[in-house]
Amino acid sequence: MWRRKPERPAIDFALQLEMVPLRNAKVAREDVADGARLTVDLRHRGLAAALARPLRLRRNKSYVLQGAGLELFDAIDGRRTVGDLADWLAERHRLTFFESRALVVEYLSGLIRRGLVAVARVAPE
């Protein structure tokens, strides 16, 4: 009756750096004072999907990005890999590679959880 969740594939360090973040094309962007408001449609699942309309559950959610967070979001162009973004952030803010990598990965995982960004694995040549 209950299906086990498939195990997450292991991602090693090198593969993580080769992943390419992609912006969610459906995200609406509005510039606000010293930042940008990003609005993303919500997808309710299960019981919440059935009750979304009668309960008037919210259909979208907005996030305001500022400063380095917004710069990083803007730097996601569908071509730069996680490693490229880490190098870019390290150079811009004089961070070490591992500091920058940890900050980029942490920030991207926050954006992914909120549906603003997805990551693609680069196809082997």
Partner: protein, 290 residues
């Protein structure tokens, strides 16, 4: 080859500049530092308290046997001898190309057995990179012990020992304490534009001290090594054990400054039970005083 200094507990040395510390221990008796680059793991430095000088070749042989046994138990059983050598005070040993290479020595004054482990022996790298590292590895002692890691470079009285290290990306705090109830907190933050967005260094540092359960008494402008700095006098309860509940307040003085060229914010607090210890930030942060 560009190098950068590392000094931690009992030893100090110079590692290639691109090596970063990815794991650390804050234990005086036994621990390790691991170094890596984006290409992967580069080296491990470990220390272990020992009353007498151990049999280093035998310990290295046992280590190699255990490592080789993970992939080739037959070869591990037949491993009888190391290809041993000596670099400075270090005894070195390996079992061939592609297998780990070890170097160990005993520091009699500290009573510590220290060891370097390199993941794969490579004769060219050994000569070019590892030999200078081993030759430069020396005891970290003297009246002012050096603590140089994660971008912080401190010289502290020997009585102060590392109690706690909070290491996050671009956010490092080291806490040192002595038996005489003297404490030093050293901080280093990256991304100062983000931390100081819409606020001042004084307000930022004030908030940091409040988060550490301090009662701020006075905020003032000061100077350090020609830079403008913020000084804060505060009182604080002890952070560990019964001190958190029932200890007397410690009196402290903090100094924070923004190094715009390096794009980092530094801060150091000294606190003592009953009175502020006589330790100036310029004495502790050698590179700032210069």
């Amino acid at each position: 080859m560009n190098t950068r200094p590392v000094a931690w507990f009992h030893a100090q040395f110079e590692v290639p500049a691109e090596w970063e510390t990815v794991r650390h221990s804050a234990n005086r008796l036994a621990g390790r530092l691991e170094f890596a680059t984006r290409a992967g793991f580069q080296a491990l430095f470990s220390w272990q308290a020992c009353r007498r000088e151990p049999d280093a070749p035998r310990m290295m042989l046992e280590f190699l046997r255990r490592e080789i046994a993970k992939t080739d138990p037959e070869r591990a059983r037949n491993l009888r001898d190391l290809r041993a050598g000596r670099v400075g005070a270090f005894e070195t040993g390996h079992a061939g190309e592609g297998l780990p290479c070890l170097a160990a020595r005993y520091l009699p004054a500290a009573g510590q057995y220290v060891q370097w482990i390199f993941p794969r022996f490579d004769a060219a790298r050994f000569a070019r990179e590892w030999s200078p590292l081993l030759l430069g590895t020396r005891p970290n002692d003297g009246p002012r012990r050096r603590w140089c890691l994660f971008g912080l470079d401190l010289r502290l009285p020997d009585e102060l020992d590392l109690e706690h290290a909070e290491v996050f990306p671009a956010d490092v705090t080291l806490l040192f304490e002595s038996r005489r109830k003297l404490a030093v907190h050293a901080h280093r933050w990256g991304l100062p534009e983000e931390l100081l967005r819409g606020t001042t260094l004084a307000d930022f540092y004030h908030r940091v001290l409040l988060r550490r359960h301090s009662v701020v008494r006075r905020v003032y402008e000061t100077a350090l090594g020609g830079r403008r700095a913020v000084g804060i006098d505060f009182d604080r309860r002890g952070e560990f054990q019964l001190d958190t509940l029932a200890g007397r307040r410690w009196k402290g003085r903090g100094t924070a400054w923004h190094d715009a060229a390096e794009q980092r914010i530094y801060a150091v607090e000294v606190a003592g039970r009953g009175r502020v210890p006589d330790l100036a930030p310029g004495e502790m942060f050698s590179h700032v005083a210069a």
